[in-house]
Symmetry: C2
Subunit: 224 residues, 2 copies
DNA sequence: CGGGTCTGACGAACGGAGTTCGTCACGAAC
DNA sequence: GTTCGTGACGAACTCCGTTCGTCAGACCCG
């Protein structure tokens, strides 16, 4: 199995390792082969090196995934056109989209205050938009918190959906059957409202609209 | 290290294994020792058996965690007093609370349509409350979707917070320092709005209020 | 131009995880 | 008392993240 050792001089020149190429390679592996395949060994293999070499540039697997997340967030398009509410909605939608394109990445963002440079760029942009819209500072701050939470959650949900084995239609049909079979006395609504529960429509856009409308209707009350 | 084999007759009578005791033991281990300690081996050890024995009642670790999640959701108190909006807010808050009490459990709920019996009970209750409030079916269905997403996300965030090593104050101080050190030209808001960004107050309750207000202000538009 | 030093890459190994397989002890049935 | 089936379980397999010690190559100084 072992190829005999080849002088490094003899084999084709190799691009030097760096944090950046490791992170980008990680994203490639994640997108091409899924979350389960995202192991230190696999990433190293693609880079034609050993897993141990990665640890010079990356603290551990969590650190790598956090870096990958921020790299993905760096690709979010920042909107410039439209009213401030339209810009906000587009920015949120773009962020969800960016996260949902990489299985499992959104999960690492959950439960942590964002500290990545690109994540903070998105946050800063949101705060600017709120300021343009005349929203007071405290409400804007709390709103960005809430929106970031929604972005990670919706991103994770979308990603899970994109990666599912079954087609959405098959999966929905199965769940719907399960709902219908529940005891009607304990689950009166779930068994009855099938049509509404599974109705089609742009739920993602609606959710963002709900958040924006709700924020505008609800002032924050900081404790002094 | 190995104790010599003892006849099972000789050692104290053991409660028989069952899916239920395994799930409850899993929750105990999770709460007492954290997510990292929640291994099949550890759960089996607490039950004084081998890991292989668990697989008779549980498909795999994911199945176990899903069952633990539903068990946790079974302990959500369903409110009965107050206006429908108050009931809704309390129910959402109680659900977040239940999830946040067990590190990492909320993460398994993310990205999946709820199918557990107790999860569906909570959903059914929400739908009933919306119906009492005169919300149309489609909006109610989409709203429950959104609220469930928020519950899982907020639960995960709270749980991560509860389990952090540093005290909240220390952690916030550190992040705040980091924010302040960012280049002001690229991050004008983040560097400036520290006071607002870290302002205290009941953000969780505010977030729920935002969602409810937003839902009432935003009709769903299903595609026929 | 040559030798010494220093840095980064890497093979091998460690501990521990999830899961599977074959065996065996126990209780019930006849 | 013998047989039989069910469920518990020990051991092993594979693969993971991570660490340690070694070594080749690049660079610098004389």
């Amino acid at each position: 199995m072992n190829a005999e050792p080849v002088s490094r001089r003899a084999r084709p020149a190799k691009a030097p390792l760096s944090r950046d190429v490791i992170v980008r390679t990680g994203l490639e592996v994640l997108d091409r082969e899924g979350l389960d395949a995202l192991t230190m060994r696999r990433v190293a293999q693609v880079l034609d090196t050993g897993a141990a070499s990665l640890y010079v540039y990356v603290e551990n697997r969590d650190d790598l995934m956090a870096a990958m997340l921020d790299e993905a967030l760096g690709r979010v398009a920042l909107p410039t056109d439209g009213s401030w509410q339209e810009q906000l909605q587009t920015l949120v939608a773009n962020s969800i989209d960016a996260m949902s394109r990489h299985e499992g990445l959104a999960l690492v963002a959950l439960g942590g205050i964002p500290t990545g440079l690109n994540a903070l760029l998105v946050m800063d942009r949101m705060l600017t938009i709120f300021k343009e819209g005349g929203v007071d500072d405290t409400t804007a701050a709390w709103a960005v918190d809430l929106l970031y939470l929604h972005i990670t959650a919706a991103g994770a949900e979308q990603a899970a959906y994109n990666t599912r084995k079954l087609t959405p239609a098959e999966h929905i049909a199965e769940v719907r059957r399960r709902y219908a079979e529940l005891p009607a006395d304990r689950y009166p609504m779930v068994t009855t409202m099938g049509d509404a529960l599974f109705s089609a429509g742009d739920r993602d856009r609606w959710a963002i609209q709900v958040l924006v409308n709700g924020i505008l209707a609800t002032a924050a009350h900081p404790v002094p």
